[in-house]
């Protein structure tokens, strides 16, 4: 790609960016949130038409007018947000557009078989005939990856494919990426996990604010340099966080207590105490029931057993509203579907929860709104810092920050964060972790869910381990990653661990 420029109304997303991708390499595209990575990818695949510049494929100039054309030319892409059709089956999502046929019609048995094979390649075992929307977002992400590798392609583009995957899934993915690379496929990879980038990539290109910073061999660029190239200044903030994460055991009053809370088909009844000022981490594999647990606490789903006690009095959870009223906030992992209201502005999204709690007739005054917006735009470094921008137009990471800010605005007593650092760049991630620590210090209880175990271990005062939709253990904050991993993956029979 040569001299690519692209402007959206009000934003110059890309300015004169050059980018090269060779066969047989894994090329990491690096940059902060909003640097223009996804936009560059979408220009490559024909979603956007560049204002200037050209795209060359194997030496020939190409101009795709739709992603379909790019696909036909051998470019297979996983876009950042899960871009699949949730109403179709898993098999269809993987193979639609290149389905096996028989007598002119789609051959469904063959299709399901193919899909199951592809899924098995990345270690997923789900029914290909099930409907996609019945699966959690992480599984959907795996399906998207399956779609991309289901065809023979020359170029494989992966825009933050790992943001909600856990270590096992990531390892699987990398294994396949290596195989493909060795077969000569050119792979473009975007991730905010530096470990992953260093593990898999051969070369990297760094973007900052829509401009090219440079292209380097991974082996020649160390982390510090990479980070300073990405953020454009020396890092210091980052180190501060590494230290900030000292753990302490909290012995304050119990804020929220779950007694035998459970929901059939979602999570087995569990007990849980969360104290004010405490950070409780939830650890478990994909599908272990972390999200379900969190949704029960928030009343997003109705529990069919047990009860929830807040401040010593039982709380009858009729839905999110009563949870919010009791000071509980829940930041969903599915920011597109359950989190943000994409067609509203940053400002409206920020105050939505607060406003909803006050009721429509008592609007948050313009002044308060502006000061809140101002505060969080800077505190979380949301870009563009234009409160009237539609959330839909923000980069993935910035959307995540807006969602987080919405709940911070309500000043909750218990903040449930389900994958809050998904798709967030390294600087922002550090900020958020620091924020959690600060909040806890100020007395807010935090329930922290993350696929990144390291992160959980680092900031949690106590870790609750889930497996197969059962709570199997509680560890205190001093535990090491290995200890947790052992519990998570360990014995196949939960009873043994529990007893």
């Amino acid at each position: 790609m040569r001299g690519i420029s692209l402007a959206f109304p009000g934003v110059k997303a890309l300015q004169d960016v050059d980018f090269r991708l060779f066969p047989g390499e894994v090329h990491a595209l690096m940059g902060e949130n909003g640097a223009g990575k996804s936009t560059l990818i979408k220009t490559l695949t024909g979603v956007h038409t560049p204002d200037s510049g050209s795209v060359l494929l194997a030496g020939e100039s190409v101009a795709f007018s739709s992603p379909g054309q790019a696909q036909q030319a051998g470019i297979s892409t996983v876009y950042q947000e899960v871009n699949l059709c949730a109403n179709l089956t898993v098999a269809e999502n993987i193979l639609l557009g290149r389905e096996p046929r028989r007598f002119g019609g789609i051959d469904f048995p063959a299709m399901r078989k193919r899909a199951a094979e592809v899924l098995a390649r990345i270690g997923v075992h789900i029914d290909p005939a099930s409907v996609l929307e019945t699966h959690p977002i992480a599984v959907q992400q795996l399906v998207a990856i399956a779609r991309a590798i289901a065809v023979d392609c020359r170029v494989l583009v992966l825009d933050e494919p790992t943001s909600s995957l856990d270590a096992g899934e990531v390892a699987e993915l990398f294994r396949i990426m290596r195989v493909l690379r060795d077969e000569g496929v050119a792979i473009l990879f975007v991730s905010h996990f530096l470990d992953q980038v260093y593990e898999i990539s051969d070369r990297m290109t760094v973007l900052r604010n829509g401009t090219l910073v440079g292209e380097h061999l991974t082996s020649e660029l160390d982390r510090r340099d990479l980070i300073s190239k990405m953020i454009g200044r020396e890092l210091g903030a980052l180190e501060a966080i590494e230290d900030a994460s000292e753990r302490h055991s909290v012995s304050g009053p119990v804020l929220v207590r779950a007694e035998g809370l459970g929901r059939r088909g979602a999570i087995a009844p569990f007990d849980l105490d969360i104290r004010a000022g405490e950070v409780v981490g939830l650890a478990g594999l994909l599908g272990s029931g972390r999200t379900e647990l969190a949704r029960l606490l928030f009343g997003a789903d109705r529990a069919d057993s047990g009860r929830l006690i807040v401040d010593g009095t039982p709380l009858h959870l009729r839905g999110p509203r009563s949870a919010i009223a009791a000071g509980i906030a829940f930041c969903s992992e599915d920011r597109k579907g359950e989190g943000l209201v994409a067609d509203l502005s940053i400002r409206d999204n920020l105050v939505l929860a607060m406003q909803a709690a006050r009721g429509w007739s008592r609007p948050v005054s313009r002044k308060v709104k502006d000061s809140l917006v101002e505060k969080y735009l800077t505190a979380l470094d949301i870009r563009p810092a234009n409160p009237d921008a539609l959330v839909r137009t923000l980069s993935g990471g910035n959307q995540q920050k807006v969602l987080l800010a919405r709940w911070l605005v309500t000043e909750p007593r218990l903040l449930i964060l389900d994958e809050p650092t998904r798709g967030i760049d390294i600087g922002a991630k550090a900020q958020i972790q620091q924020l959690v620590t600060t909040l806890a210090a100020e007395g807010t209880a935090v329930l922290f869910i993350s696929a990144e175990l390291e992160e959980v271990v680092r900031i949690a005062d106590r870790i609750v381990v889930l497996r197969d939709r059962h709570k199997i253990a509680e560890l205190d904050g001093g535990s090491t990653i290995d200890e947790v991993v052992e519990l998570i993956a360990g014995d196949p029979v939960p009873e043994e661990v529990a007893s």
Binding site: F330, G337, V341, L344, D348, R362, P363, V364
Partner: protein, 326 residues
């Protein structure tokens, strides 16, 4: 924002100019018995009911809904009021009748809201029930007869003038009120949120059901008032034809005004323009003497032209061609 409304305004102006060309006296205004009289006034007066219904419809559509029952509700309001008034010339009777009618309409709105928000039935089919049955109810009230009344107070609603037609004043007042309430309170934002992403709104603690319920009640009350205007304009309630197909006009007005049927962001100003465009179109047909059998083709051509003018893509395609030619 301004840009978005520029094209509908241009379309409206073009339509008005067409009238001026064919009928030079179209813009002429004179004072007749102490009120304004002229072609433009007619457009405003006759467009008032559609505008009013379209305002209610805008909010319903913003929540991803649709209300097909407004026409029937209008007919019910007219029927109830006129039957109540009967032969009485009293202002009091007229007021009481209108009050009863509007309370009834609010109840009908509650019913729609119940089906949509309470039972979770798809809006189009939920309101289809009242669209069908409602007209039956209106005819039940009038026993299928056209109820003629002779009541000056009632006549004011649809045919009265305070310099301008009372009906347009009412509609504009409602428009202003809605604009004010939705902008000055958080209602507008919450309505949009529910329309764009109901699930996310629920998880943010928005009372989506109450909001949906509210917009259907409001739409029904608007429809009720519109029904009063329509029947008061001719001093008669015709259960069968009052408000017939007005739901289509209203939806069209909303959509021409730039609000998407998929819910979410809405524009009240757009709706105002949309309603005016539709009414001007109808009036144009009458004034420029389009033959009855060509009327529909003419309407189709105008509607599609208006939409093409508004569509950025169509304009881009057109200007591209111009550039290519020159």
């Amino acid at each position: 924002m301004k840009n978005r409304l520029l094209w509908p305004i241009l379309a409206l102006v073009a339509l008005l100019l067409l009238n001026l060309v064919v009928t030079p006296s179209f813009f002429a205004l004179r004072i007749q018995d102490g009120h304004l009289y002229g072609g433009l006034v007619d457009v405003l007066k006759n467009g008032a009911p559609t505008l009013l219904i379209a305002i209610g419809m805008t909010l319903v559509i913003a929540t991803r809904g649709i209300d097909l029952s407004v026409g029937a509700v209008a007919a019910i309001a007219a029927a109830v009021t006129c039957v109540h008034i009967g032969t009485s010339p009293d202002a009091g009777t007229a007021l009481a009748g209108m009050a009863i009618a509007l309370v009834l309409c609010a109840a009908l709105g509650l019913w729609n809201g119940f089906l949509v928000a309470g039972l979770g039935i798809q809006p189009i089919i939920a309101t289809l029930v009242l669209m069908t049955a409602g007209r039956g109810i209106a005819m039940l009230v009038t026993e299928g007869q056209i109820i003629t009344v002779n009541n000056d107070a009632y006549r004011q609603v649809g045919a009265g003038f305070v310099v301008l037609p009372v009906s347009i004043l009412i509609s504009l007042a409602v428009l202003g009120l809605v604009a004010l309430t939705t902008r000055k309170t958080a209602l507008g934002m919450l309505i949009e949120a529910v329309g764009v992403n109901p699930e996310a709104s629920r998880l943010a603690g928005v009372r989506s059901r109450t909001i949906i319920w509210t917009v259907y009640v409001f739409a029904a009350v608007c429809a009720g008032i519109a029904g009063l205007m329509i029947s008061s304009n001719v001093s008669a309630a015709d259960a069968n034809s009052n408000g017939l197909w007005i739901e289509m006009d209203a939806i069209l007005a909303v959509v021409i005004g730039g609000t998407s049927l998929a819910g979410g962001r809405y524009s009240l100003t757009g709706t105002l323009l949309g309603s005016l465009i539709i009414q001007t179109l109808t009036t144009t047909v009458y004034t420029i003497g389009v033959a009855a059998e060509v009327t529909l083709v003419f309407k189709a051509v105008v509607v599609i032209t208006v939409c093409l003018i508004q569509s950025p893509k169509a304009r881009a395609a057109l200007s591209f061609r111009k550039v290519a030619v020159s």
